[in-house]
C-alpha cells in the first residue's frame, strides 16, 4: 500500500492539474529551446571548458598596477561624464517637449474640447517622443558613431535622444496625473501658460519630477558603460578591448570597478530621492 493512502496529510488534492500544466509548459518550451539553440552541454565540452577555465583563471589576480588603475579611474569618470552630459541634453529636449504636450496647459481646452490646431501639435510632439525613446540607445550610438566618429560625442547624443524621449513622456504623465485645479484656475483668470506652469503645476510635482530625473541618471550611467562596446568611449570601450585580448586580469578589475560604480550610483540616487521626498 502506498503511504499516501494511509497518511492523508501527504495527499495533494490538486496534483492532477499541477502535473498537467507542468507538462504543457514543457511542451511549449521545446520550440523555444530549438529557436535559441539552447544547448547547455556545449558549455561542458572539454575544449570549451578549457578555454573558459583559462579565461576565468586569468581573472586572478586582477591587474592592480598604478598606471592601469589611473586609466580605469579616468575612464570611469568619462563614463559618469557621458551619462551626466547626456542627461543634461536630454533635459533640453524633454522639458520643452513635455510642456508642449501637457494637456492641462491648453487654454483652448478650458471651455471643453481642445481646438484642432493645438490638438495636432500635441499629438505630433507625443509621436516624436515615442519614436525617440523606442529606438534603443545602442542603435542611436551605432548610427552616431558612423556620423561623428568614435568617441564620447556619439554616446552623449545617443543618451540625450533616448532619455529625452523617456523623460519627456514621463514628465508629461507626472504633470497630468496631479491635481489640475490650481493650474486651471490660474489659466481661467488670465495667466499665461508659463506662469500657470511655474506657479500651479511645478510646485506640486517638483519632488516627483526631480526624483525621477535622478533615477534616470542612475540608469544612464549603466547604459553609458554599454555604449562603450560600440565605440562611444568610457569604461565599456576599455572592457571590450581587454576582453578581445583575453586579458582576464584587466577584465576582472574593470568589472569590480563597474559593480562598485553601479552600487555607488544606486546609493547616491536612493539618498537624493529620499532627500527630495
Amino acid at each position: 500500500m502506498n503511504p499516501a493512502a494511509t497518511r492523508p496529510e501527504l495527499r495533494d488534492p490538486a496534483w492532477l492539474g499541477r502535473v498537467f500544466w507542468l507538462l504543457a509548459a514543457l511542451v511549449l518550451l521545446w520550440p523555444l529551446t530549438v529557436a535559441t539553440e539552447f544547448r547547455p552541454w556545449v558549455l561542458l565540452e572539454p575544449a570549451n571548458l578549457r578555454i573558459s577555465g583559462r579565461f576565468i583563471g586569468s581573472f586572478f589576480p586582477p591587474v592592480l598596477n598604478g598606471e592601469f588603475l589611473a586609466m580605469v579611474l579616468r575612464e570611469t569618470w568619462r563614463t559618469v561624464a557621458i551619462a551626466t552630459a547626456g542627461i543634461t541634453l536630454a533635459l533640453v529636449i524633454a522639458v520643452p517637449m513635455a510642456l508642449l504636450s501637457v494637456r492641462v496647459l491648453s487654454i483652448s481646452a478650458l471651455p471643453g474640447r481642445m481646438a484642432r490646431g493645438p490638438f495636432w501639435c500635441r499629438q505630433v510632439v507625443r509621436w516624436t517622443l515615442m519614436v525617440l525613446r523606442s529606438v534603443p540607445e545602442l542603435v542611436w550610438a551605432l548610427v552616431f558613431v558612423r556620423v561623428v566618429g568614435l568617441g564620447p560625442t556619439a554616446g552623449v547624443l545617443a543618451i540625450a535622444l533616448t532619455y529625452g524621449g523617456m523623460l519627456g513622456k514621463v514628465y508629461a504623465e507626472i504633470l497630468e496625473s496631479g491635481e489640475t485645479q490650481p493650474t486651471e484656475t490660474l489659466l481661467r483668470n488670465g495667466s499665461g501658460r508659463l506662469q500657470a506652469f511655474f506657479y500651479g503645476l511645478l510646485p506640486q510635482n517638483a519632488a516627483e519630477l526631480s526624483s525621477y530625473t535622478v533615477y534616470r541618471w542612475e540608469c544612464a550611467i549603466r547604459s553609458s558603460v554599454v555604449l562603450g562596446f560600440v565605440g562611444a568611449g568610457g569604461l565599456g570601450q576599455q572592457l571590450d578591448v581587454s576582453m578581445k585580448m583575453f586579458n582576464g586580469g584587466e577584465v576582472a578589475t574593470m568589472l569590480l570597478v563597474f559593480i562598485a560604480l553601479v552600487a555607488l550610483a544606486d546609493r547616491v540616487s536612493a539618498g537624493l530621492r529620499r532627500g527630495l521626498g
Binding site: 558549455l43 568619462r78 552630459a85 534603443p136 545602442l138 554599454v226 559593480i259 552600487a263
Partner: protein
C-alpha cells in the same frame, strides 16, 4: 515644560542663500558636475554641427531609402525577430526559476530565523544585477560561442539578479499568518513555503516576471550587436557591410516590435487595473 502658545509663533522660511542651505549646495554641486562633464569630454560639436556633418548626416539618412522589402530578406528579418522573442522568453523563464531559487536563501522567512545565507546571497544577486546584459553576453561569448544561446544566458543571468531581489522582497513582505499556522503544526520549511507563502505572493511574482519580460524583449533586440543572435546580430552585420536599405528594414522591424510590446503591455495594464 513650557505650555504651548495658543498660536504657534510664525516662522520665516530660511534665507534663500543661507550657507547651510542644502538645496543651494546641491544645486552648486550639480552645476559643477555638469560643467566638469562637458569640459572634460572634449565633445566635437563643431564637427557635429558643421555644414559638412549635416550633409553627411543627410546622405546617411538618404541611404536608408528605399528599405529592402524583398520577400527573402523580410523572411530573414522575421526569423530574426522570432529568435529575439524566443531569447527573451526563455531567458526570462530561466531567470524566474533561478531567481526564485535564490530568493529563498536571500530572505528571512520568519521572525527569528537565522538566515545566515541572506547577506552573501544578496551580494551575489547585486553582482548579477550590476553587470548589464550586454556585458554578460560579451563575457559569455567566450564559452558559449556566437549565437542566440549566449544571449539567452546573458539575459537570464542579469534578470536573475533583478528578479531574485524583487522576489526576496515580496517573500519577506508576505503576511506571516498562514506560514506561522503551518509551522506551528510542525510542517517542514519547504512545504510551508510551497503551501503557505508561495500562493500568497504568486500574483506579485508573476507581474514582476511579466514586467521584466517586456524589458528583456527590448534588451534582446540589441544584444546581437556583440554577436549574441537575434535582430541585433542582423543589424550589426548589415550595418557593418554598409547595406543601408537592409539596415533600414531591420530598424523598422525593431521599432515595430518595441511599439507592439509597448502597446500590448499598456493595454494589459489598463485591462488589469480596470
Amino acid at each position: 515644560m513650557k505650555p504651548d502658545a495658543a498660536n504657534l509663533p510664525y516662522r520665516l522660511p530660511p534665507k534663500m542663500f543661507d550657507a547651510r542651505c542644502r538645496a543651494c549646495w546641491f544645486a552648486a554641486g550639480l552645476l559643477v558636475l555638469i560643467g566638469a562633464s562637458f569640459w572634460s569630454l572634449d565633445l566635437q560639436w563643431m564637427q557635429f554641427l558643421s555644414l559638412d556633418a549635416a550633409r553627411s548626416m543627410g546622405r546617411f539618412i538618404g541611404e536608408f531609402f528605399p528599405p529592402d522589402l524583398s520577400a527573402p530578406f523580410v523572411k530573414k528579418v522575421a526569423i530574426g525577430a522570432a529568435e529575439t522573442l524566443a531569447m527573451s522568453l526563455l531567458g526570462t523563464l530561466l531567470a524566474a526559476a533561478a531567481g526564485l531559487a535564490l530568493a529563498l536563501p536571500a530572505s528571512r522567512l520568519h521572525d527569528g530565523a537565522r538566515a545566515r545565507a541572506r547577506a552573501p546571497t544578496r551580494l551575489l544577486l547585486n553582482a548579477l544585477r550590476a553587470i548589464p546584459e550586454l556585458v554578460w553576453a560579451a563575457l559569455l561569448l567566450i564559452s558559449a560561442g556566437l549565437g542566440p544561446f549566449a544571449g539567452t544566458l546573458a539575459l537570464a543571468l542579469h534578470t536573475t539578479g533583478v528578479l531574485g531581489r524583487l522576489f526576496a522582497e515580496s517573500i519577506e513582505n508576505a503576511p506571516p499568518g498562514p506560514a506561522f499556522a503551518l509551522r506551528a503544526q510542525g510542517v517542514g520549511p519547504l512545504r510551508v513555503f510551497c503551501y503557505a507563502t508561495l500562493p500568497q505572493v504568486l500574483p506579485q511574482l508573476m507581474s514582476y516576471t511579466l514586467y521584466r519580460w517586456e524589458n528583456n524583449i527590448r534588451a534582446a533586440a540589441v544584444l546581437g550587436v556583440v554577436g549574441a543572435g537575434g535582430l541585433g546580430a542582423l543589424l550589426s552585420f548589415h550595418m557593418g557591410l554598409f547595406q543601408m536599405g537592409k539596415t533600414a528594414t531591420i530598424l523598422a522591424a525593431m521599432l515595430l516590435m518595441v511599439a507592439f510590446v509597448d502597446g500590448l503591455s499598456y493595454a494589459a495594464r489598463r485591462w488589469m487595473t480596470r
